[in-house]
């Protein structure tokens, strides 16, 4: 390298430092209302189709709008769409967009933007993938109309378009939506109520959003992703706090206004503060889980898997996750979200009760030969870390030989995808969790599928489970759906698709002078005001 390039690099770095007004505050109008929010994780990237982390989806919901949006009863309601029409026995859907919708750069939202947005979304979304498989054509008829022709009816189409689970079907401008679904977008022009201030974004530290004045909210009152998304503040700032204790102190001190996920142990302290309000964050909660590898011993033996499910004590897991507050967790003898229509306890009577004696007996009867259980535990995720500690203890008690691999979430992500034998870079067990919103029904719930090679990591192969799911897809009415799910649940319990460690809720906390915060699967910022 010659001196010139050397100096150029230095100058580039220096200029980058000087010319980055990232940390400069914007010129705020007098009396501008700023809502400072502490998100659950770092906002490291900003493509809600490419990156499926929840925090990206939450930010995306501020910046992009959707064709439909589910309300608090999980019923899809029209959002950007003015009317829809179903013809040909459910094979043709014709949609008409609302008038006056605009992107943040002033351009109108046209059907020509919707089509590539949906195409990109379908490439990454499981339900979208199912639609794509039966899709005949998806075209823009004119500026405000587009048509979707399918080969088979798909009654859940509107739900798929309006659901909260990532990736969400956000509508982007055509040129941006044409980006390959496996490559990040680099422009963030949105259709939603807030504009993303890219020049103020410091990944890992903060992000800023500014209300888009030309957004046209619907007339109806807002409810989750449905209704009118009226912004009652001028700016929203996301302050990323890597340290929980610091976030708690900042909320108490008034340096932030709203904290997405305070840990349960800190809640009594926050409640004592006269300026802080604490309530449940998402009534749909979360389901903790660990998955066993059905391809290799010892967990290729269903009886051994049963032993684990019988021996595990969900109360232990839940206490480790949410502490002493009993209102925050429920035992979960199944795989579907409590409090929703399809919740089922069929076949789950034996699991999760901590019956070590029976577990030990089952292990012996199954003929366990002492094979080592390679158990992957990510230490940098509090949920998996806590679960991992309990599992290590559980396995020892039942009588397994355990190889506890303490690593990080990134390595877990790579290793769990490997179908190699556990001793050669594979695995026997790893820990994770799912949000309740993702476990309401088998659509968009890959973790409950048991179709062998195509299933989620662990690759369970249980025809009975798949039969039940197929029945649900074809079910004509809610009673048939429930019956199908009961069958699925029982089969999943018996075959141990995965091990549910319990159902748990989380809290959110905010300052008293903030109003309008609702419970839901994400932090709905519309309707939130600050005194």
């Amino acid at each position: 390298m010659d001196r010139r390039t050397f100096l150029k690099t230095t100058a580039a770095l220096g200029a980058a430092g000087v010319a980055s007004p990232r940390l400069a505050a914007p010129a705020l109008a007098q009396g501008a209302k700023v809502l400072r929010f502490v998100p659950q994780a770092n906002l490291a990237n900003f493509d809600p189709i490419w990156g499926t982390q929840y925090v990206v989806r939450n930010a995306g919901a501020l910046v992009w709008d959707m064709l439909y949006g589910v309300d608090s009863t999980l019923t899809p309601q029209r959002q950007m769409v003015e009317s829809e029409e179903v013809t040909d026995n459910g094979l043709t859907w014709t949609f008409r967009l609302r008038d006056g919708l605009r992107f943040h750069d002033g351009e109108p939202v046209r059907a020509a933007d919707v089509v590539p947005s949906l195409t990109r979304w379908m490439a990454r979304d499981p339900i979208g993938g199912m639609i794509k498989a039966i899709q005949d054509e998806l075209t823009a008829v004119d500026d405000r109309t587009f048509r979707w022709r399918l080969k088979k009816p798909f009654p859940k189409l509107l739900y798929a378009l309006g659901k909260t689970n990532a990736p969400v079907a956000f509508i982007m401008p055509e040129r941006i939506a044409k980006t390959d679904p496996f490559t990040q977008i680099s422009e963030y022009v949105g259709s939603g109520p807030m504009r993303f201030r890219r020049d103020e974004w410091v990944p890992g530290a903060r992000a800023a959003f500014e209300t888009f004045k030309d957004y046209k909210p619907r007339e109806e009152p807002s409810s989750w992703l449905a209704g009118g998304k009226r912004m009652l503040v001028d700016r929203v700032e996301w302050v990323i706090m890597p340290d929980t204790a610091t976030a708690s102190a900042a909320l108490q001190n008034g340096e932030v206004d709203w904290w997405e996920n305070p840990i349960a142990d800190l809640v009594p302290l926050l409640r004592k503060n006269p300026n802080v309000v604490v309530d449940i964050a998402d009534p749909l909660g979360n389901i903790g889980s660990f998955r066993m590898n059905h391809l290799y011993p010892p967990f290729d033996n269903p009886k051994i898997r049963q032993a684990v499910l019988v021996g595990m004590n969900q109360e232990d897991y839940m206490r480790a996750l949410v502490g002493d507050d009993d209102s925050l967790w429920k035992p979960l003898p199944g795989f579907f979200t409590p409090g929703t229509a399809l919740y089922s306890e069929a076949g789950g009577a034996m699991i999760g009760k901590g019956d070590i004696k029976t577990a030990q007996r089952l292990l012996k009867e199954a003929g366990y030969k002492g094979e080592k259980v390679v158990c992957i535990v990510a230490q940098d995720q509090p949920i998996t870390k806590a679960e991992g500690d309990i599992t290590a203890d559980l396995l020892k008690q039942i009588g397994f030989e355990v190889d506890f691999v303490a690593t990080d979430w990134g390595t877990t992500g790579t290793r769990r995808a490997s179908k190699a034998p556990p001793s050669q870079g594979g695995w026997n067990m790893f820990h994770t969790w799912h949000t309740g919103a993702d476990c309401i029904n088998p659509a968009g719930y890959p973790a409950v599928r048991a179709n062998g090679d195509k299933a989620w990591f662990g690759w369970p192969n249980l025809p009975a489970v798949e039969a039940g799911i197929a029945e649900w897809f074809d079910a004509a009415d809610p009673a048939a759906e429930k019956a199908a799910i009961d069958k699925t649940n029982a089969a999943a319990c018996e075959g141990a698709v995965y091990a549910p460690t319990g159902f748990f809720l989380g809290y959110q906390a905010w300052r008293k002078n903030v109003k309008g915060i609702v419970k839901g699967p994400l932090n709905f910022t519309w309707g939130v005001s600050k005194a």
Binding site: M1, T5, T9, A12, L13, A15, A16, G17, V18, A19, S20, R22, L23, A24, A25, A44, N45, F46, D47, G51, T52, Q53, D125, P126, A166, F182, T183, I185, S186, V202, P203, G204, A205, R206, V239, I240, M241, P242, A245, T246, A249, A250, Q252, N253, E255, D408, W409, G410, T411, T412, G413, T414, R415, A417, K419, G425, T432, H434, P446, K454
Partner: protein
Amino acid sequence: MLGYIGRRVLATIPVMAVVGLFVFSLLYLSPGDPAAIIAGDQATPEDIERIRASLGLDRPFLVRFGEWAWRILHGDLGISIFTNLPVSTLIGQRVEPTVSLMLVTLVFAIVVAVPLGVLAAWKAGSLIDRLVMGLAVTGFSVPVFVVGYILAYVFALQLGWLPVQGYTPIAQGLWPWLANLILPSVTLGLVYIALIARVTRATMLDVLNQDYVRTARAKGLAQRHVLFVHALKNAAVPIVTVIGIGIALLIGGAVVTETVFAIPGLGRLTVDAILRRDYPVIQGVVLLFSFTYVAVNLAIDLLYTVLDPRIRY
């Protein structure tokens, strides 16, 4: 002198090449790559492979290293895998907080530690000496985050004098900038104080026994004059040396301090990048650190010529 500087600058190139190769190899060897994290929870192994291919992570080591080295030589630090922003932008955003933190910490540490070291040397062997040194060493022994939590609790939460967290750019006012930096600097500085005080004391002891000091005293100069004008100037070289060494050590403590006080600095950027395997960021930041280390050492060597006229290059 210019020749000396030129030679030193040239000598940095192999050093940085070593660093670059080492870090690159390290990342190449590490299991887990960003593709899995990016693919997310719903991903299939095919998705992960596709992302890996689109990031160019499946190419052989030499190809990737060569490409990266070529880009670096043209001043292009690459694009972060996760944020899709140029690495130089990410670094540029975080330079100011880190530099501010280092500067204020340095000033605080020097202002406290040098007088302490001088005091201890002056009263060498006495109770004061032992007490001062003992306190200094204690500052070095308590884990940084514990100190940080305690200070934040007392001064921010309970007394409300200072903010708990965050960073305010200096462009928004001197006091807000300083207010955010006081607690983190004290936290970090305590570690540094022991180091500087110890070296100051030892050097001063050495110097105070020299003939010219005795002459100065015999001439009837005030003790303070003797200490600060004659002795300290001569003790400056080793003190400045230790300050230079300490900067690399400080970065370790800075990672923790930046986490506890939510300062958007380079330490936190690097740790996050390491845990997420954001290779371009890791490589860029480490290169920057090594460059800084080399530059600081060069500056210190040049400072010697100012402090000690006997040193000539």
